[in-house]
């Protein structure tokens, strides 16, 4: 909770002054009925227009003042509450930006999005309500109690009998309603999920003619949702009349007792009427507090989810040394890796490997054997479990992350382009890149030609996720973006899978000839992509089973031979 509240710091002024203006509004609100009574009890019987005008004008003045106070309170609490939500969203977002890959894997994008949107909004609305109502209700109660006490102490006792009954009632409702409410929310999520899945799978549904099956599934969840919401709403609708009965009971008791007091001259009629209206205000305040309580309990889920993010320990921090990456050498020393500390299954086992500066290295192996994991360790996207990874002679954990990652460019398998122009996207590699540099990088990545074929060329707007490009075009832009970093080491993790072989080989040729000082590491499905490498590492089951030149591998490595012959056979025969 403290975590979350610290986001209120910037708007603390608004959040403090909002209750103050609310108090002013409440004071006026409590006084206005009194003036009203005086207007009726004193002003009108006096038959003196000036007296009526006196009270009338006081009342108008107070109303206008109360209007100003109320407006001010709305302004302050909206500004404060939304400001708080904005800051909270920023805190959470910034925290996520600082997440390591391990943290990101743990949460997953979709769940982070829900936290940033739905959960933050709930808390923000909670805060706005908090500033508006939380101070209003108790203060209103205190004021009303004071006024009621001033009128008649003995009658207040009735109210003190009613209060615990109301409190117990509210606790009981909370106790019974909470589980029902949770159940309903679960069914609601389930319904959304069913629709969402049906929409993403619509082609499958239609192709397999499963419309009726889907309808059945949907009506079941829909029915469950209806049943569970009826249950909670019935409970709630039973509560309202019960609360009303309590309030009415108090009113009647006061009328009976107060009426007798009037008869015995202990109280006046006007006092009794005001007294009843004050008791109403007190009880309303109490009910409002109950509502807040229920709301805050509902917020608990959101608060927990936000706290999970804020309290998650960032597993990867900047190194202490100011090393510079001087050259592109990489060394793995006895590296073991497991994705979580307690998992027994190691993804990488005892990896030892030396890559010299400017070498081109291929990595080959079946899916799920640890190729991506291996290269992820070089820009320190994850930390090794045992052993060490050295870049340019220093342990990667000693570098500042920016220095390391700026020099070790990585083109991810699941790559993403962002909305904006092609140029905007490329500038991720180097914000200050000149047009010539951008064009040069795109030529190396074989992206220049297709970019120039667009009407807006480098200023072509990409939709979210680069939707208007083909898979191969996206991949080439991602390579160009990485090249713009002018890295010492570039890692291509299956980055040309959607690019045809000819273009693929042109890219490799450009890297080889134009960026001959850059160490290049290529993970590929296609054996052709690694044939010109200096060395190829064969990964199987988390181990490097062979690390040699392609020529030698072709002679003695079975896995390499197998892949080579299945993929290259036809081409060689026919191209020959």
């Amino acid at each position: 909770m403290r975590n979350i509240l610290s986001s209120a710091r910037k708007y603390i002024g608004y959040l403090i002054f909002a209750p103050i203006s609310i108090m002013l509004e409440v004071i006026l609100e409590v006084y206005i009925p009194r003036v009203m009574t005086q207007l009726v009890d004193v002003g009108i019987p006096s038959h003196d227009l000036s007296v009526v005008a006196h009270f009338g004008l006081i009342m108008i003045g107070m109303s206008l003042l109360s209007l100003v106070a109320g407006t001010l309170a709305t302004y302050l609490s909206s500004t404060g509450g939304i400001g708080f939500g904005t800051e909270l969203r920023k805190t959470v977002f910034d925290k996520i930006e600082d997440f390591s890959f391990e943290n990101i894997d743990k949460f997953q994008a979709s769940s982070l999005i829900t936290r940033l949107t739905t959960d933050v909004n709930y808390i923000q609305n909670g805060m706005m309500m908090f500033t508006r109502v939380v101070f209003r209700a108790p203060f209103m109660m205190v004021m009303a109690i004071i006024m009621a006490l001033r009128i008649n102490r003995r009658l207040v006792k009735i109210f003190f009998v009613a209060m615990p009954i109301i409190l117990i009632g509210m606790v009981l409702v909370g106790y019974f309603a909470m589980p029902l409410f949770k159940k309903m929310m679960e069914h609601f999520d389930k319904l959304n999920q069913t629709v969402q899945e049906d929409l993403t799978n619509i082609r499958v549904v239609k192709a397999y003619v499963r419309g009726d099956y889907e309808k059945k599934r949907f009506s079941e969840t829909n029915y469950n949702l209806m049943e569970s919401s009826i249950r909670i709403e019935l409970l709630m609708s039973a509560m309202t009349p019960i609360m009303m009965m309590i309030i009415y009971g108090v009113t009647v008791a006061i009328l009976w007792n107060g009426g007798q007091m009037i008869i015995y001259g202990e109280m006046t009629t006007g006092e009794l009427i005001s007294f009843i209206s004050y008791i109403m205000q007190i009880l309303m305040g109490l009910i409002m507090i109950g509502m807040i309580f229920v709301n805050i309990v509902q917020l608990r889920g959101s608060i927990n989810r936000i706290n999970e993010v804020l309290n998650d320990k960032i597993t990867l921090n900047d190194g202490k040394e100011n090393w510079k990456v001087e050259e592109g050498s990489v060394e793995f020393r006895n590296v073991d890796f497991a994705y979580s500390a307690d998992s027994e299954e190691k993804v990488l086992k005892n990896i030892n490997m030396v890559i010299k500066p400017a070498e081109t290295i291929g990595i080959l192996g079946s899916t799920g054997n640890g190729k991506t994991t291996l290269v992820n360790l070089i820009p320190r996207l994850y930390d090794v479990t045992n052993g060490e990874v050295l870049v340019s002679g220093h342990d990667v954990r000693e570098y500042k992350l920016k220095e390391l990652r700026d020099n070790v460019a990585m083109v991810l398998q699941q790559n993403v382009l962002f909305s904006g122009t092609i140029k905007d996207n490329l500038k991720w590699g180097d914000a200050n890149a000149s047009d010539e540099e951008i064009m040069q990088a795109c030529k190396y990545a074989q992206a220049h030609d297709f970019i120039m074929s667009f009407p807006d060329q480098y200023d072509t707007e990409l939709g979210q996720g680069g939707v208007n490009l083909s898979g191969g075009q996206k991949q080439r832009l991602c390579i160009a973006r990485a090249l713009l970093k002018k890295p010492k080491i570039i890692i291509l993790d299956d980055s040309t899978s959607a690019v045809d072989t000819a273009t693929d080989s042109l890219i490799r040729k450009a890297l080889h000839e134009q960026l001959s000082d850059t160490t290049t590491i290529i993970i590929a499905q296609r054996v052709a992509s690694v044939l010109e490498a200096d060395k190829v590492a064969i990964i199987d089951n988390g181990r490097i089973v062979d690390y040699d030149s392609p020529e030698n591998l072709l002679k003695h490595n079975e896995i390499f031979q197998e892949v080579y012959y299945t993929q290259m056979k036809g081409v060689e025969e026919n191209a020959a």
Partner: protein, 629 residues
């Protein structure tokens, strides 16, 4: 794909027809609604009466006894009146309770029906509908639009009934006491209505702006959360934080403005009604001085002024939410009123067998033999054996009626043949398969399936005869077993395991924590893309269709695994007509016919060797001299 349309914020085009339609969903028994109406009226009558009782209690029960030191007997009238008050209160609470209980049921049944109708209709809509709308837009129908109807139906309606009848009763009392005073109150009310309307129009404006700002903010967050790993790799965190901060701040300002305008409504109406009261009191005092009305009347009149302005401002505040509920309902009804997929075909798919006399006859058992059952003019049926012979005759097609995607495409897939479609993205490969199963209808030419025009085949039958594995494999929440069984609902566990083995998925499924009973989350995110594709292949295998369409079905499976499942795939394809779309040419090499598509036209056709000999586009593709994008 056809372009998407954006949805703009809108007011309902028609109010009454939609309101009536919502009402028709609420109940088919109108008398229930009438009862609710009377309960609400009775409830508000009780509230008005409760307030009214105060006057006789004080005037007749208490005042005469002041200073008399009364006997218990003399307190009787007071006690009686208080008991009457209790009765009124209890009755009022009871009316409210009953009305609430009824309305809770009505509301939830209404929403249940609307949601069912919406979903059921959606299931029958053509694919072009889904292409034209984002998932977010469609989901909004189920969430925010239905939610708005809920508010309108559950609280809005009864509240309006309640407020309206309270206002009417109070108004009647006011007119009864003093018509002249009532005129002043009305005049002041009109002023109030104008002020609130001004504020609410401002508030709607700002609300629209807020929605736009929040949409932008959410869009940015979504994009960045999805691209988080790229952000890290490029150490772009500071820039992203800065941009986010700007967008976040813009949204903050817009939201604050919208909230302030919406929030000031309460204090303004509330305090204006106080002003109203004071003005009425002064006016009344002047009238009393003139002798136009009596003093006692003024006091109770003022009491009514107070209880009149409350329901009126409540109705005004309800109005906006009622309007947006009607707009939401209109959007939903628009979907419900849409034309379902055309399905005029009469030819159905049946299981068939040869009886003892070697006659080809229909059977209710699943024999693995299929036949088209075609109605004849004389009311009898003709059985045509399903062989999987597909013929395109001069097919021309466009998604939107403007841009031609396929022009004059003709080809012939003989039963049991493997036909490959090769070409760049957007050349029309997937479109061809979408036309075979009639996801879309062609504009010119004809598609014949075993000699029958696909338009004459009932759609469900047509699709049941085709198995399809798509490039983007989405799975359903449920167990692995349930996901495979989706291909054939009555498949036994053995058949499922067999299909999984065929697709080479059995190995990895066994390794999952609970094997075939492992729950797959949301989009199957606990599986790799390749594993998902293997499951999709198993799903197609278990459905055992006569004709198979593989649209980049192995694109995410590495070549080693692909080599491993080759045998299984060959088994799967054996004896079926298969359409293969593949990027990797090694996958299509052994096809009977390969068609190279370019911009919707078949530019080359033949088998692998023919095409290499032609030394055309395919040769260039295959030898890596040409790019496939």
């Amino acid at each position: 794909m056809p372009p998407r349309q954006m949805r703009k914020p809108e007011k309902p085009a028609q109010v009454w027809p939609n309101v009536k339609r919502i009402m028709s969903y609420m109940t088919d028994k109108v008398w229930i609604l009438v009862i609710v109406f009377f309960l609400e009226v009775a409830g508000s009558l009780a509230a008005v009466a409760g307030t009214y009782m105060m006057t006789p209690i004080i005037n007749d029960g208490i005042t005469p006894l002041i200073g008399t030191n009364p006997e218990a007997e003399q307190l009787r009238p007071l006690l009686n009146m208080i008991i009457l008050l209790v009765v009124i209160y209890v009755a009022g609470a009871l009316f409210n309770f009953i009305s609430n209980v009824i309305m809770t049921r009505i509301t939830n049944h209404t929403l249940n029906r609307i949601r069912n109708d919406l979903f059921f209709k959606m299931e029958t809509l053509p694919l072009s509908y889904f292409d034209g709308h984002t998932h977010g837009e469609l989901m909004a129908l189920y969430t925010s639009d239905v939610q708005m109807i809920r508010m309108a139906v559950s609280s809005g309606l009864t509240q309006v009934m309640h407020s309206a009848s309270t206002a009417i009763f109070t108004f009647a009392m006011m007119v009864y006491i003093s018509p002249i005073m009532t005129l002043t109150v009305i005049a002041l009310m009109v002023v109030m209505v104008f002020i609130t309307r001004f504020i609410s129009s401002k508030s709607i404006d700002n609300y629209t702006k807020q929605q736009a700002a929040i949409a932008k903010l959410n869009g940015y967050m979504e994009e960045m959360m999805g691209g988080q790993k790229v952000v890290k790799v490029f150490t772009h965190e500071p820039t992203v934080k800065r941009t986010f901060n700007d967008i976040n701040e813009t949204a903050r300002k817009a939201s604050t403005r919208a909230n302030v305008y919406a929030g000031v409504m309460g204090p303004i109406t509330n305090n204006l009604s106080h002003v109203n009261y004071a003005v009425a009191a002064m006016m009344g005092a002047w009238l009393v001085a003139q002798g136009t009305i009596g003093l006692g009347n003024l006091a109770s009149y003022l009491q009514y002024t107070r209880s009149f302005s409350n329901p009126v401002s409540q109705i005004m505040q309800q109005f906006n939410s009622l309007m947006s509920a009607v707009a939401g309902a209109e959007r939903i009804f628009k979907v419900i009123d849409m034309e379902p997929e055309v399905n005029e075909g009469k030819v159905t798919l049946v299981s068939a067998t040869y009886d003892e006399n070697s006659n080809f006859v229909e059977t209710s058992e699943r024999t693995g033999l299929w036949a088209w059952k075609r109605p004849l003019e004389d009311g009898k049926f003709e059985l045509i054996r399903l062989r999987g012979d597909v013929k395109f005759n001069d097919v021309t097609f466009s998604y939107d009626g403007k841009k031609t995607v396929l022009s004059d495409v003709s080809f012939y897939a003989k039963p049991g043949q493997k036909i490959a479609l090769v070409g760049a993205t957007g050349a029309g490969k997937t479109t061809i398969t979408n036309l075979i199963n009639r996801f879309y209808d062609i504009q010119e030419g004809e598609i014949l399936y075993d000699g029958i025009n696909v338009k004459d085949i009932e759609k469900d039958s047509l699709r049941r005869s085709l198995g399809i594995v798509l490039q983007d494999t989405h799975l359903f929440t449920g167990t692995v077993k349930e996901n495979i069984r989706y291909g054939r609902l009555d498949a036994t566990d053995e058949q499922i395991v067999e299909a999984a083995k065929l697709a080479n998925a059995h190995e990895f499924i066994k390794m999952l924590p609970e094997g075939y009973d492992t729950m797959l989350t949301g989009d199957g995110s606990n599986l790799s893309q390749g594993q998902r594709q293997l499951l999709a292949i198993a799903r197609a295998a278990v459905s055992d269709p006569p004709v198979l369409i593989l649209d980049e079905a192995t694109s995410s499976i590495d070549t080693r695994t692909e080599a491993l499942i080759e045998e299984g795939m060959d088994n799967l394809m054996a004896g079926r007509t298969v359409f293969v779309i593949a990027h990797r040419l090694s996958t299509v090499r052994n096809s009977n016919a390969i068609m190279v598509l370019d911009h919707g036209v078949i530019i080359e056709r033949g088998d692998h060797d023919d095409l290499l000999e032609q030394k055309g586009q395919y040769y260039k593709l295959y030898t890596g001299q040409f790019e496939l994008d």
